[in-house]
Amino acid sequence: MAELSVNHLLGIKELTRDDIELIFETADHFKEVINRPIKKVPSLRDFTIANLFFENSTRTRTSFELAQKRLSADVVNFSSSTSSVKKGETLIDTANNILAMKVDMVVMRHASVGAPHFLSKYVDANILNAGDGTHEHPTQALLDSYSIRERLGQVEGKKVCIFGDILHSRVALSNIFALQKQGAEVMVCGPNSLLPKYIQDLGVKVELDVKKALEWCDVANILRIQLERQGGDISYFPSLREYSQYFGINKELLDSLDKEIVLMHPGPINRGIEVTTDVIDSENGIVLDQVENGVAVRMAVLYLLAQKRKGLSLG
């Protein structure tokens, strides 16, 4: 197949394994494109894309914007802090107002779970989820899997452990779906207070001991400890110092293993808390590969979704 089975990228859950394969094959070609002297192709030159970021984002938005520009699309950016959302406009009104300006595709990040799914039912544009609450962040999971595939040759059969705050993480959920669809084994590891109840029902292993988890896995995807959630009304662990002592990944731990582990982090990294600098900056760390691959993978998703929108129109 050379076409996605979906018209929107709402989550990894809706994708098939063939879809993921197609995205990766297409991303291979775009990765070559972004390493050319002139890093631009004209595929989406008749396309306008709105980036609606109702939640803060630097990395994802920059990556999407770069991907869109490298495909020659016209881009409008919209962030909630500068928009009429502050004045009480509803999501549908905001989206329809933007669509009235003839936009073909919407990339959206929203604090509410399901916001992109809701939008996809009511507006005539391809919707791309750039993170909805604690639910899914599909492009991050795709670029993570793509980076594993690039480093280890394939995702199938690999053992991947996700460390840290699983409870609040859309990256974790999307990664679990993506990895399982590609035939990888998934484990989650973190303090009990940051693991969702019943997470094992998704078919993932649960481990509370970092050393045991590291002994098991081929790839460690270390998530960010969301400092903003700590120390407010609820604290999920006693102190950062204690967290890094019990759950931080450091050189000593990795040296005690008799194997090499690929280390990933979606960023931004809290150096010295979830992982130490010497470890994440070592040659086993692929953080910057993830960032580079992010542009290629997002180009692939944008291109393949655009392909589903047939023909020119005058309206």
Binding site: A2, E32, V33, P37, S43, G311
Partner: protein
Amino acid sequence: MATINSKIVGMQKVILDKELLEITINRLCQQLIENHNDFENSVLIGLQPKGVFLAERIKKSLKEITGKEMPLGCLDVTFFRDDFRRRNTPLKANATDMPFLIEGKRVVFIDDVLFSGRSIRAALDAMTAYGRPAQVELLVLVDRKYTRELPIQADYVGTHINSMLSQAVVVQWEGINGNEEDSVVLLNREE
């Protein structure tokens, strides 16, 4: 109009058999040598997917004749095509491998069949990502006459044929897609 994927029916007619194809490739090489002398500043670019096989052949024959290893790149034009979102069958991209810059070079595009001319237009666009060449020429194995949709002509032509839109020209290479022998055939497609 028949689409690319439509079923092949009826008899096939061989336009070039193995022997004739060999002679044709040789002649194309001699013509290249005539124009490019020592190939000091020339590069070959095979157009993905099918032009690459011919380009490799040309490169091999040129080496046999002149003893020189010609730089060869392959260029995929999928992202530069003008029928994106306009065709029924989705496009699938192929790998681009351009190990050199073409700034100031004499470029020879190599493709198997010249039909509408649209992929050549896309290739002219795609090429500019690697620099501004001094000159661009086009070499094709088969020129289908009267089917051009753009003002594009080849500089080196293996053979010209008159064919109908309902027909397809297929270049088969030994060992690729299970073909036993090199040949160029004309097929009828089901409407």
